[in-house]
Subunit: 248 residues, 2 copies
């Protein structure tokens, strides 16, 4: 019988800039007698960003004319909008109080992923990691140095979607796993080619972890065991090419 | 320590039109000694549709001129396209061999969710359920009649997304649970209002179940325990109003 178990690692302290996140996670796992071996670790983007120092004090931000104009139109803090614009290569849509941006990484999401809540201090904006796949690789390498065994790491964030209300968690970066399980050529139970050939495993892991990662719960790292881990890859390589995208 | 466990119910036989799906699931759970009590059951749309008789023999489909034109342009089966058009109220985008449709329910997805693979017979198209929330309610009622206790049911399907390659499983219908956990007014660890206030629980459950629901695995029902179930609601009510949608 196939089973998967998700465990919210307890007792991870409030993360601050410069913290050794891998050490905090490894210690929390040891204290809880959770063996980080042969499974996937999903870590909330926010604590990764904070540990990496990807925070900006709003007091230090001078909003441009364009940021002031957008902020005024939508009733937002112009310093927040300024940081959002700096993190964006393009505004994809604007309306209903929402700013959908394409980030420098290629993510398309509200406010370029720049968040004011759960920040390490009041009046601080937390940006997405500079390179979330690299963050995942670094976290994985540090955890592997501590103990042997297969381990996948996924960095997750909560994104809204077109057409449906509510947010789901998606993968921003990953290491030690193929973000998409390419099943092209696989056959269904009737021996016909499968219609759905590319389940986005990293995003499914992120969404599953989201069930235990409510923002007010203080559980930024979820351990998932029971999966067959396979492949390698970057989330960045799975962002759809703009020339093939019908919604840009 | 918060934990969630997912179990793929083994031994569910190939589902056919008119089958009592609740009875098949209840028997599979009993045989596997899985107690369907105090948890969420995620069921693949395909088996729900097939049991409900939502299949169409392509041999009986006469493609319209419009279906033939689209099929020719994209190298598709005109009978499949005809069924897709009948299930659609609108084509949202067309290109790169993909037809993104708005279904009569309001879902926006490729081919209006009409699938040719994993069908109950060759040359059969399987449509989405007429009303997936009602399907979830009926399945839940039948399972509750069998045994007491809280139980949520989610009907899931694999959808592609804008901007990211790969498919994730989303909820088409649900019963016994609020599809979105509305946390408006909730505070984060700093006592600030949460930026993400509406995690889409039903979609997260669907995506988590998708990890054990690879289309060729023959496991159309996943049991998830360890969650605090709360609320009530329909997936249909969580589809974004067209007037507020920036991508239609």
């Amino acid at each position: 019988m196939k089973r998967i178990e998700l465990v919210a690692l307890p007792g991870i302290p409030r993360v601050r800039a410069g913290d050794d996140l891998a050490a905090l996670i490894a210690r929390a796992a040891r204290d809880a007698e959770v063996d980080l071996h042969d499974g996937a670790l999903v870590v909330c983007q926010k604590v990764v960003s904070i540990a990496e120092g990807r925070s900006v004090a709003l007091a230090d931000v001078a909003p441009s004319a364009s940021a002031r104009e957008i902020a005024a139109a939508h009733g937002r803090d112009p310093r927040h909008i300024e940081v959002v614009l700096r993190e964006s290569v393009r505004i994809v849509r604007r309306g209903h109080g929402v700013l959908i941006c394409e980030t420098r990484h290629g993510f398309i999401c509200a406010n370029a992923g720049v968040d004011l809540s759960n920040a390490s201090a009041a009046d601080t904006a937390v940006l997405l990691p500079e390179d979330p796949d690299a963050s995942a690789r670094a976290l994985r390498a540090a955890l592997l140095a501590d103990r042997a065994g297969p381990l996948a790491v996924v960095i997750s964030d909560s994104f809204g979607r077109p057409w449906r209300e509510g947010q789901v968690d998606v993968a921003l970066g990953c290491a030690g796993i193929a973000p998409i399980d390419d099943r092209a050529g696989a056959l269904d139970l009737d021996g016909r080619a499968l219609a759905v050939t590319a389940p986005a495993t990293a995003d499914q892991l992120a969404a599953a972890a989201g069930l235990l990662m409510r923002k007010d719960a203080g559980t930024p790292a979820i351990w998932i065991r029971g999966l067959a881990l396979s492949g390698e890859g970057c989330v960045r390589d799975t962002l759809r090419d703009a020339t093939l995208d019908l919604f840009r």
